[in-house]
């Protein structure tokens, strides 16, 4: 049970970052992606993205595999529990929306 708790702690730690949550969300909708593709989508350097993927991989949330010169990332053996996944997805989306609302309000300042 202690071991189980430690694994959970690691996966929630991995989930504490919005980029990592977004990576999982994306991998949930697509079968897999290469590191390069993810770096483009998330507008990050390869090195930065690799670090995030590494944290997710250590938590068992993603698995990576090198095919030729390309490293592929897919959801790992420790899938998120359904409810947790729902709350994580929801929270990520709500925060993104509120960020965009904030930008919108800034952009339209001075209008009634």
């Amino acid at each position: 049970m202690v071991q189980y708790q430690a694994t959970l702690d690691r996966s929630f730690g991995a989930l504490a970052d919005p980029t990592r949550r977004a990576i999982l969300l994306r991998l949930g909708r697509h079968a897999d992606a290469s590191i390069t593709e993810l770096a483009v989508v998330f507008e990050m350097t390869l090195t930065g993205l690799k670090k995030h993927v590494q944290v997710l991989e250590e938590a068992g949330l993603v698995a990576t595999e090198k095919v030729g010169r390309v490293r592929h990332v897919r959801l790992g053996p420790r899938r998120l529990e359904d409810v947790t996944k729902w709350i994580t997805s929801y929270r990520t989306m709500l925060e993104q929306r509120l960020d965009h609302l904030e930008d919108f309000l800034e952009r339209t300042k001075g209008t009634p």
Binding site: K85, Y90, E95, L101, F104, L105
Partner: protein
């Protein structure tokens, strides 16, 4: 993390294992924030998170349905629910479902508080349920694993509330 900066930006907490509470302070008067949250022409400009948004349905009154569809590079994603309470310009209670996670629903309560200095505090409290529970068919009890993952999630979120946004 600078507490004042966090205070300005956002606060996240988990009042119970089924709830997330997010506070955001916007540098805009309450009427403007209310309009951005409730006028379809304005919602279309931010709700889609940078994606094109199609508002298929928006009956903005108690019992009314809403359905928004985001059209992004990865395809379309639909979101929908019903309004439970609409009190201008301060409060909306609605259900929220995402096509991507069928069987799950959040009940969102958004409250706008006029801070009196041209800023507005938005408090979003979201309660998470499965649709079965919402429909009144409560499970006899959640299994241990779910309890534990909530407890772990709570700890992470509590940590985030102090530092992240």
């Amino acid at each position: 993390m600078n507490q004042a900066a966090t205070e300005m930006k956002a606060k996240i907490s988990t009042p119970s294992d089924r709830e997330i509470r997010i506070e955001r302070v916007f540098n805009a008067p309450r009427e403007r924030v209310w309009k951005a949250l409730t006028d379809p022409a304005l919602i279309a400009q931010w709700w889609g998170r940078g994606n094109k948004l199609v508002i298929e349905r928006m009956e903005h009154q108690r019992g009314g349905h809403w359905r928004f569809v985001e059209h992004g590079p990865e395809g379309a994603q639909g979101f929908e629910g019903r309004y439970r309470e609409v009190v201008a310009p301060e409060r909306v209670v609605q259900t929220f479902q995402w096509d991507g996670m069928p069987g799950h629903v959040a009940v969102e309560t958004m409250t706008l508080e006029d801070l009196g200095d041209g800023r507005t505090k938005l408090v979003a409290v979201s309660m998470f349920h499965t649709t079965e529970e919402r429909d009144g068919m409560l499970h006899s009890g959640m299994d241990q694993g779910v309890h534990q993952s909530y407890a772990a999630l709570d700890r992470v979120l509590a940590g985030l509330g102090a530092g992240g946004r």
